[in-house]
């Protein structure tokens, strides 16, 4: 195993990345001093913290983030009200030059946000002139304190098209459009971006949410001088939303653009899920805020080992591989039914399965209080599997398909004796 080598490099908009793992635009990519450390750790590129043109002074609210903890698990989500870069454009561009000089094989994606056609073009050109390999148009920041910016643009399709077109005219490097998830259907704005000339789509930016309300001050967090706000949620809690939007975009044949997935990626498994749903590159912020740049080592090694074990030579052979089986729910074969199956030799006798089956499922378990073991009444089992979700012993409860002639018992009717009192006429 150790001897075999796999190729983690990917081609994304005709640019070669040594691996699919990039920093996303955020505090983790705020300066060259930081990005250099990330490159040393193994990240193949950076979507640099969104540049501003110095037209207005950017000040970050203080404090700017709030963690979403769940029990002993820290940072399952992260709430932030951070603005785009508060550094001067000059300082940021000097940092581009430094990075390009010292890390010529790493890829710099310049994230920009303007307020007018001219400003978008200006930032795009300045980026290209100072070493940016690509651009990422930030149409998606959910909490800019300045009107006419961020996700407001992301929700106005004509602006997306117009600004993308402006940028494309100003530069020759590839252009990504970064989309907000705070809409129902992302393919629509993505198609407008494509119409404007976008070469790829990045998604998702943060999801508008509230992670916590202070119980003493009745104020949402983060609390900025007494004021809370609906703001951007990121981290593992938003991964299902990110995966969903990536899948939507990948499935949209009319779009047909490469994708850069993000939202809740911490491990190689999260990254692989994004790849399997059609991302070519993936981006990370909250995972780094939680664990540091070092997590990329685990992504590289974990993904490599996975590929070696399965004899997959190139990352390209993984991209979109989960899409063919991803169908609308009306494609499900409802004839196919099953039940839960219990390996009771490993049971420790906690009875959580009984509680959830009683209170949220098929009433399909009996409890032997002497032995402290559940007993499954198979023909009452809904195969919803909630018992397996709470069982503390992994793999003890599994799904068992049933033969096609198998019948599930009808749910008990408690009011059988009360038919005389029933007031019901058939629906016509």
């Amino acid at each position: 195993m150790a001897g075999k080598k796999v190729d983690l490099s990917v081609d994304f908009c005709v640019i070669k990345f040594e691996n699919p793992f990039l920093l996303s635009s955020s505090p983790v990519s705020n300066s060259a001093e930081m990005v250099a450390k990330a490159f040393e750790a193994g990240w193949s590129g950076v979507a640099y913290k969104t540049l501003n043109s110095d037209r207005v002074r950017i000040v970050h609210p203080s404090p700017r983030m709030n963690p979403y903890h769940y029990g002993s698990k820290r940072l399952v989500g992260l709430q932030n009200v951070e603005q785009i870069s508060d550094r001067s454009l000059k300082d940021n561009l000097l940092d581009f030059l430094y990075l390009k000089k010292n890390y010529p094989d790493k890829i710099i994606i310049s994230s920009i946000m303007g307020f007018s056609n001219e400003e978008w073009a200006y930032l795009a050109k300045a980026s290209e002139d100072n070493g940016a390999d690509m651009l990422e148009l930030n149409f998606s920041c959910p909490h800019m304190t300045i009107e006419g910016s961020g996700h407001k643009v992301g929700q106005a399709n004509h602006l997306i098209e117009k600004f993308t077109e402006t940028v494309k005219k100003a530069v020759s490097i590839p252009v990504l459009a970064k989309m907000t998830p705070n809409i129902t259907d992302m393919t629509e704005p993505a198609l407008f971006a494509k119409q404007g000339g976008a070469d790829a789509i990045a998604a998702i930016n943060t999801v508008r949410g509230i992670s916590q309300i202070g119980l003493d001050d009745w104020t949402a967090r983060p609390k900025v001088a007494g004021i809370g706000a609906i703001s951007g949620t990121s981290g593992p809690a938003v991964k299902p939303i990110g995966l969903r939007f990536i899948a939507d975009l990948a499935k949209c044949e009319q779009l047909g653009l490469p994708l850069s997935g993000q939202g809740g990626i911490e491990t190689w498994i999260d990254a692989l899920e994004y790849l399997l749903l059609g991302s070519t590159t993936v981006q990370v912020t909250t995972g780094i805020i939680h664990y540091g740049y070092r997590i990329v080592e685990e992504m590289i090694e974990g993904l490599s080992d996975y590929m070696v074990e399965r004899d997959i030579e190139r990352v390209a052979d993984l991209i979109g591989k989960a899409l063919p089986t991803l169908q609308d729910t009306d494609k499900f074969d409802l004839e196919s039914q099953g039940v839960a199956s219990y390996d009771l030799d490993r049971c420790v006798g906690c009875g959580q399965c009984l509680i959830v089956c009683n209170d949220s499922a098929g009433q399909a378990l009996e409890w032997d209080s002497q032995l402290r073991r559940p007993r499954l009444i198979e023909d009452k089992c809904l195969s919803c599997m909630v018992c397996s979700f709470v069982c503390p012993v992994s793999g003890l409860i599994s799904y068992k398909p049933q033969p096609s002639d198998w019948q599930r018992r009808e749910t008990a009717v408690m009011g059988e004796q009360l038919e005389a009192e029933l007031k019901l006429a058939a629906f016509k």
């Binding site: 195993m1 002993s72 664990y291 685990e298």
Partner: protein
């Protein structure tokens, strides 16, 4: 292969499963500059392998352990981790240390379960190296050299490989099957282990250099037991810890077990080896097992957990008693131990409190079996195997701390034969250190 089975003499307790290991890894604080990693004598790097497990890079976690410590499984089971890596764990500051050794053991066992192989045989570099002794030090050195392409031959005096971890540590603490897994990995690296192949002739260890081996690593350990009275020999029922523990592991096992059943056993000593002797005798059905020690409980060199486990296994701790002589009948059968009670003098400086015999307090402890476990030493005459290698007055080989090079060029040494009684993890490190120095020397010779 000989396998001993007995209801009382159970195999190793089960280690962590995946869920437990992951839950335990969740408690890790993923420290910057992980202090646990600095505290591991063999640089097994727990800070890294736990982080890898935490970030679902399970194969990487296994690789970290095995690349750093070829006996990572043995160490996970046998290390007194509470005073090594786990002692430095920052999580102690908010509760209790992460159970690092158990996570390590799990990861190694998990690699076997999912048949994940870390190594592939290296391309041969044309160099041959001889290793004398297949204990942890010899195995570690051999594996390290083989990984770099050396052709390594281990010469082992005993019928099977492993040293103390095969012929010393009782099976309820460390299973031979477990050892065989780790041995297989070492053999798969291309290491040849010749058993029943002692290097005992005059100058034989040094002569290996003339037989085409570019370097020799001596790791013969400590296999002579210290004796209360070396004059006394051939007494039925009187044995040394070395003889006793080795019998637990070979064809003598059934005979020994029948002897122990219902008997009264006295074990002399207060170290880990004495505990292994006493606890195993109790587990094998001895009616009464006395651990006879001349100081008190807290002065015993054995690890605290070991002492408590022995107490729980039913061993009677006979503290503050100094054995003075054996009681032997005219059939040359042991009948008991003559003891004198002691009290502890005040400690001098930082030393341990010394026992002082109480005059007139002599008494006899009746015993059917007496096991002497008062220390292991280098075999008498072992210096003749390598006559030009400098040894100290305890016949321990003098080897450089940085390179484990002895006074003879090309001859290296490590493990207990250099350190005196130490730990598996120390032996592993010596093997690594010596291998690195040997490889450096070989590449210099080439240049």
């Amino acid at each position: 292969m000989f396998v001993n089975t007995s209801e009382n003499f159970t195999g190793m307790t089960q280690g962590f499963g995946l869920d437990q290991a992951v839950a335990e890894a969740e408690r890790c604080l993923l420290c910057h500059d992980a202090p646990c990693s600095k505290a591991c004598p063999a640089d097994t790097d727990p800070g890294t392998f736990i982080r890898k497990l935490r970030l679902k890079n399970v194969t990487g976690a296994i690789r970290t352990i095995k690349e750093n410590n070829i006996l990572g499984g043995a160490c996970g089971v046998l290390c007194p981790a509470a005073r090594l890596c786990e002692k430095e764990c920052c999580a102690t500051g908010i509760g209790r240390p992460v159970e690092i050794a158990k996570i390590q053991r799990f990861l190694v066992e998990h690699s076997w379960e999912r048949n994940f192989k870390v190594f592939e045989p290296a391309a041969p570099n044309g160099k041959s190296v001889a290793v004398v002794g297949s204990g942890p030090a010899g195995l570690s050195c051999a594996a390290e050299l083989a990984k770099q392409g050396c052709q390594v031959t281990i010469f082992e005096a005993r019928p099977e490989a492993g040293g103390v971890i095969r012929y010393g540590v009782p099976s309820y603490r460390y299973d031979v099957n477990f050892l065989d897994h780790e041995l297989r990995e070492i053999k798969e690296l291309g290491v040849e282990i010749r058993c029943n192949a002692p290097i005992r002739g005059a100058g034989e260890a040094e002569n290996l250099l003339q037989k085409g081996y570019a370097a020799v690593f001596v790791a013969t350990g400590l296999w002579d037991a210290a004796r209360l009275n070396p004059e006394v020999s051939n007494v039925d029922g009187l044995m040394t810890s070395v003889e006793y523990l080795a019998s637990l592991r070979d064809e003598q096992f059934e005979i020994l077990r029948n002897k122990l059943k219902g008997s009264t056993v006295a074990v002399i000593g207060g170290g880990s080896v004495a505990i292994d002797c006493a606890e195993s005798a109790a587990k094998l059905g001895a009616e009464d097992v006395y651990l006879v020690y001349r100081r008190s409980f807290v002065q015993m060199p054995a690890e605290e957990v070991e002492r408590i486990e022995a107490l729980a296994a039913g061993v009677h701790f006979l503290l503050l008693n100094q054995p003075v002589d054996f009681v032997i009948n005219h059939h040359r059968k042991i009948m008991g131990l003559r003891l004198v009670r002691t009290r502890l003098d005040a400690a001098v400086g930082s030393g341990r409190r010394m026992p002082k015999e109480i005059p007139g307090s002599e008494w006899v402890l009746n015993a059917d079996i007496v096991i002497e476990a008062i220390g292991n030493q280098a075999e008498s005459g072992s210096q003749n195997w390598y006559p030009n290698v400098a040894v100290d007055r305890n016949r321990l080989i003098q080897a450089d701390a940085e390179t484990r090079q002895t006074s003879v060029a090309g001859i290296f040494a490590g493990g207990d034969i250099v350190r005196g009684p130490a730990l598996v993890v120390d032996a592993v490190n010596d093997g690594k250190v010596a291998a690195k120095a040997i490889l450096e020397q070989l590449s210099q010779q080439e240049a």
